[in-house]
Amino acid sequence: MSNEANIHGHAEVITHHEVHHDEHHVHHHKETFITKYIFSQDHKTIGKQFLITGIIWAIIGGLFSVLFRLQLGFPEQTFPILETFFGKWAKGGVIQPEFYYALVTIHGTVLVFFVLTAGLSGTFANLLIPLQIGARDMASPFLNMLSYWFFFIASVIMFASLFVHTGPASGGWTVYPPLSALHQAGDGSKIGMDLWLVSMAMFIVSSLLGGLNYIATILNMRTKGMSMTRMPLTMWAILFTAILGVLSFPVLLSGAILLLFDRNLGTSFYLSDIYIAGQILPNEGGSAILFQHLFWFLGHPEVYIILLPAMGMVSEILSVNSRKPIFGYMAMVGSLFAIAILAFLVWAHHMFVTGLNPFLGAFFVLLTLLIAVPSAIKVFNWITTLWRGNIRFTPATLFAIGFVSLFISGGLTGLFLGNSTIDIHLHDTKFVVAHFHIVMGVASMFGMFAGIYHWFPKMFGRFLNHTLGYIHFWVTIIGAYLIFWPMHYEGLAGVPRRYLDLRDWHAFNKFDDLNKMITVVSIIVFAMQLMFVFNFFYSIFKGRKVRTSNPWGSNTLEWTTPINPGHGNWPGEIPEVHRWAYDYGKDGREFIPQTEPVGPNETKEH
């Protein structure tokens, strides 16, 4: 069987083996509009629900960043249009401090949790797990559905908090008490903060339901022959992501609930010795720092919850489009594992300047910098995957390459911040903002975009418009670097983050031009993302149709399903797997799908 299939060639490789299966039927029961599109238990539909909700939140969160960038770039200017829309929050067309802080807080919360956690792993875990391991659906489709709807409830509550009289939470996305615990501390610490906490609690429930399901499905429902080491790296990444989430989100939940108690029931978990707004509070014996420990015990794994799925997808996409196996599969799995373990042991590097015991701090420095080792392995392996490949630059490939570039840039600045000596100086400056936006924010968005461009054909049976995809990529990567690269210099000048106006400061007030430039670029980049969203929705209905079931010439199982798979994924039996997912370019063949048995004369090694 010659398999010189180019990407638009035929690759019908569904081979029917005599595999024993449980009595899984393709679901033939009647589906109404509601069961098919709203309360659907089909993992593919749930994935799309996560994605579209995530996109809506990304637009809101992105818009907020444009608004506060207006203030940062043009602090002396008035924008009457803002008063038209936001009333007292932008009195006289000037963004008020309370409004500014609400914007940054919601921007951070929404992007970190709703977009890059739910929108990213919610989408791709749901979509890909059953398709790539060869299962008809998740272990529990019902829990899976609940996972989305808890996210939906969280979204509704968070959205509602934007409209309360005193505004949404505005103490930063990290909501450190006592600022977030005391009503007297500011408008953003009133009802908006309670709604924030309740919304987060719902979100955590959603994330746990989803995570448990992902783990159960990956461990138990792999098709025949799909041993763990034959899984695509996306699966490994999602498995580790889910484990991280299941072990760390409950800690945030407890932190949030204790904070709710402190706010409303008079407890003193985080409060002690407080004199605020002319009032002496009775609370004694609590510790404000305790919350930071609880928060960052989730908060740090959280950045890997965001990053790992992106890493997994990038590995897969780079390999498919280089027409080469991923270099060092076991090292890739091992480094994911190392990152997942270390993710739990570094949380206090966010707290070097809280008065943390310096001796304890030393361990966190060591463990933090250690993460650079598995990260370096991954980077070198991605680069080696490209080496001597035959690379096809689909928009997904470009975004994957962009991810690697951003991950390098942002990862290296992590070596500054993870070192407590330097962190004393750079902590909470713009340097931190630049660092985490590049390495976790933009890089993960790139991973997400790569995933969307790559699996859109599987989701909707159509392609996204590639020309727009290319423009999207180039504007976004150039914009991202223009925005965040020079921002490091602001941090090196000591400019603190969350300062909306630098004009009163002698040392910091010298970046007028830079801030204007960053604002203008961020508006352009935001407009470009809107164009991507347009492309997304337009292509769902009008995009170029996918005509072959395996448009990228990929080995993995999702491309053995029909172009528009129904609930149950495979019309016949679930295919059996005979090899790992990365036999690209082996023995002179462009690709060998996982379903193809190992031939008698095949090279042994993988």
Partner: protein, 350 residues
Amino acid sequence: MTTTFIILILLLGFLITFQIAKASEYVSVMRGEEKSRKQNNRINAFLLLTFLVLGLIGVYYCNERLGGKILQFGSSASNHGIDVDNMMYITLVITAIVFFITQIALFWFAYKYQESDKRKAYYYPHNNKLEVIWTAIPAIVLTVMVGFGLYYWFRITGEAPKDAMVVEVTGSQFKWEFRYPGKDKVLGKKFYKAIDEGANNPLGQLWDDPANHDDIYVTGEDMHLVVNKPVKLVINAKDVIHDVGLSHFRLKMDAVPGTPTTMWFTPIKTTAQMKKENNDPDFVYELSCDQMCGQGHFKMRGTIVVESQEEFDLWMAKQKPKYYLAFPDKDPNAPKTDTTTTKIAAIMPQ
């Protein structure tokens, strides 16, 4: 007007781009998808290389433009700051090397190994030797960085010298208050429930403690420090978490309500010296709040003067302990008549 204009332009750009994109899709169908796909491949490969070159030029240009505006490495105004600067320098050199090697390799390989009919991808699933090399090298380099880092870290966070002067810094929404221990060199005890701003006791000093009687309280003006004399800051917050950020000294420490923290350093340059060094007659050491503390966070500014011992003593001599303001009758220097006049003045509307 301008806003509408900008929105219109954006919309127009939007439409045009979309039309072009749509048209290109049709063209590609007509020309043969395979052919146009290959053309796109070449264009994007070329763009990746261009991006690399322009990006590297951009990195250089950015440094030219902004490099002069940062706090220069080695220019720190404190002893600990010099350590921080050294560590930054070491880290910068190492990360810069890695940055250039990996970014250049990434984009160069992407360009060089773009799809070509002449080439077949090289089946290269793993090489344990390579893996070991690029696990070991980063590990060794990181050990060096951790080693230096911890050496400096313990120097910076170690015990303050015995002869260090002590200044207490208290943050609250949105101001800084300073307290000096006075002649006895001991800060008097305080308790937050004793805070009474009306009775001249903004910090909650316990007047039973005689150590409080000579403590000097200052707010709304400079914090005074002595050059080349170690200073230990005792840091408190009254309401929410603040942070004492001293960018010129390269230091930072949170102010946490209920949990006092400390930080020590030796200022090595007076304000006058910094004015001369930076060629800036308006230079002033600034104390910024670096932990989000509410809507006035970005304005929570304090200033610091570093001066000679003589200047400091002169200034200190002019200060009056808060105790005497709270209990004017206890003030040995205040003549009785004076207090009565002030009292009358306070009662009489002017």
